[in-house]
């Protein structure tokens, strides 16, 4: 039974038509992400993880199965499922402040605008000094901060992220992962992240959903409860923990199996 609280994906499949042939991208995916948790869709390229995320966002429709968020069926995009993309999506004609306020403005959310929501999230991502800057004056990492602040300021029930830090250099990526975890824990937001990076998946996720490819199937669900015993925000301790090493090796082998099948 799908629970009414959180994200529920049941028996979802996706078939694309290409050149007169049907290509099955995803087959019979069922998973649950409880509210307030961080889920990661991990898998080799071509496993359909981005397609699955886009279906949760309502940007594409599943060929079979149903997706529900907090009991409501998903059939089109909506404010309750804000998405951060890998590409920089700050609106270039708006200042940082106006970018972050965009969602609240188009939804005419006067009360949130007056309560200082915009300023709160600009502070949360550490951009208060750049509130009046335009995106072309910012670095890639800062633009992703704008995108995260803009999405969270809109109070989504589920934050969707499609390889959000994939275009950033390693140090900035680590910074952004810590920043994201800090905000998400404080705001108790549910998050679903697409990643192809094992370390990132285990570091961010409470639950990691490993997808195999051709067609994309849910192969394994990995819980990272071991992290609760570790000191928070300590990447060193995380990377050196025995559980991390074990899971990393395990997932690496899953990935290699996928690579062998493709070759």
């Amino acid at each position: 039974m799908p629970s009414s609280n959180g994200l529920s994906i049941s028996n979802v499949g996706k078939t694309f038509r290409s050149g007169g042939r049907d290509i099955q991208a995803l087959e019979n995916i069922s998973l649950e992400l409880p509210a307030g948790k961080v889920g990661v869709l991990l898998g080799p390229s071509g496993c359909g993880k981005s397609t699955l995320l886009r279906m949760v966002a309502g940007l594409e429709n599943p060929s079979e199965g149903t997706i529900t968020l907090n009991g409501r069926a998903v059939d089109q995009p909506g404010r309750d499922r804000g998405m951060v993309f890998q590409d920089y999506t700050s609106f270039p004609w708006l200042s940082v402040k106006d970018n972050v306020a965009y969602g609240l403005r188009i939804n005419s959310d006067r009360s949130a605008l007056n309560e200082g929501t915009v300023e709160h999230f600009i502070r949360a991502v550490g951009l208060e000094k750049f509130a009046d800057a335009y995106p072309h004056q910012l670095s890639g990492g800062m633009r992703q901060r704008v995108a995260i602040a803009r999405t969270l300021a809109n109070y989504p029930e589920l934050l969707l992220m499609d390889e959000p830090f994939g275009a950033l250099d390693p140090e900035t990526r680590w910074q952004m992962q810590d920043l994201l975890l800090g905000i998400v824990r404080k705001e108790r937001t549910s998050v679903m992240v697409v990643s192809h990076d094992i370390e990132e998946a285990l570091y961010l996720g409470d639950v990691v959903f490993f997808l195999s490819r051709h067609p994309g199937r849910l192969k394994e669900v990995i819980h990272t409860d071991f992290k609760s015993a570790l000191p928070p925000n300590d990447r060193e301790a995380f990377l050196q923990s025995e559980e991390y090493r074990r899971l990393e090796l395990h997932i690496r082998r899953l990935m290699q199996d996928e690579g062998r099948d493709a070759a």
């Binding site: 966002a57 998405m83 999506t89 004609w93 670095s139 969707l160």
Partner: protein
């Protein structure tokens, strides 16, 4: 050296350190390297060199008796007649009627083309109906409609404005649609997941993102408008720059004809500069790199 390094942490541009004491040695291929970007003052000097050379060549060939002075006057003679035209022959009112025709026809063209271009660039089904239709009209030469327009609208201003309108409006629709279509899909999808409806995304993303492109397209199409102006004013016109030039032809006043050409050139350039100023003033967020 205008290359800038970008500091990742602050996003500020760092200028490369240039030794100031000794004059830097000029590298081989200093004058003609590929993709050089020049400082503003050097660009101005180079531009002036081209123009001065042109006027010198014109004046020298005019004095060389290759053709009678009456048929091939030099720049000095042309500027003299330009002065006479403005001071003694009320040329200013001709110029004003020409500008009025250009501006009136172009404003109407934009009012028609902008909504159509925005909708065609945004919605494939609108494009599917209108693109084959309007795209084909582009290839019908506007001057071919002059006999029809003369019969329908007479020889007055409305006929001339209609001709100018027909000359640009079809191109304008197609080009504005192209600009709109270049809006990144990911910006539209972002707005969707922030809860934006169709009308809101149309205005706050597609229209807003395309605005600089619209201004630039209008700048380019206005140049085309000026070429149709002369055609419009050569046929049955009593006033305007083109009409003056046709009168001058009757009396073989070649200097007046050339003065008309110069006037159109200068006016076209002024409008171009005006659009560039609007562009720079209204879209500071594009930065200098237009990225």
């Amino acid at each position: 050296m205008t290359a800038k390094l970008s500091d990742r942490a602050t996003g500020q541009a760092l200028e490369p350190v240039v030794p100031t004491s000794a004059t830097p040695k000029k590298r081989r291929g200093y004058w003609f390297d590929f993709n050089q970007s020049l400082p503003v003052n050097q660009r101005l000097i180079l531009g002036a060199v081209g123009w001065v050379a042109f006027f010198l060549l014109w004046q020298i060939t005019a004095q060389m008796d290759l053709a009678p002075d009456r048929l091939y006057p030099g720049p000095v003679a042309v500027f003299d007649s330009l002065k006479t035209l403005f001071l003694e022959q009320n040329f200013l009112s001709d110029v004003i009627s020409s500008i009025t025709r250009i501006v009136a026809s172009f404003v109407i063209a934009v009012l028609i083309a902008l909504p159509l271009g925005l909708l065609m660039g945004s919605f494939a089904r609108v494009d599917g109906v209108l693109n084959p239709l309007l795209g084909a009209w582009r290839y019908l030469p506007a001057p071919a409609f002059i006999p029809l327009l003369l019969m329908w609208l007479g020889t007055g201003n409305s006929q001339k404005i209609t001709l100018l309108l027909m000359g640009v409006v079809f191109f304008l629709v197609i080009m504005l649609a192209d600009v709109t279509r270049q809006t990144p899909k990911v910006l539209i999808e972002t707005a969707k997941t922030l809860g934006g409806g169709r009308r809101i995304i149309l205005w706050t993303v597609l229209f807003r993102h395309s605005l600089p492109g619209y201004v630039d397209t209008c700048r380019q199409m206005l140049a085309v408008s000026w070429t149709y102006l002369v055609i419009a004013e050569i046929v049955a016109a009593t006033d305007g720059i083109g009409a003056m030039m046709m009168r001058a032809k009757r009396f073989v006043h070649v200097d007046d004809i050339m003065a008309g050409i110069v006037t159109i050139g200068v006016l076209g350039l002024l409008f171009d500069v005006l659009f560039r100023l609007i562009y720079r003033k209204c879209f500071p967020y594009l930065g200098r790199s237009h990225s």
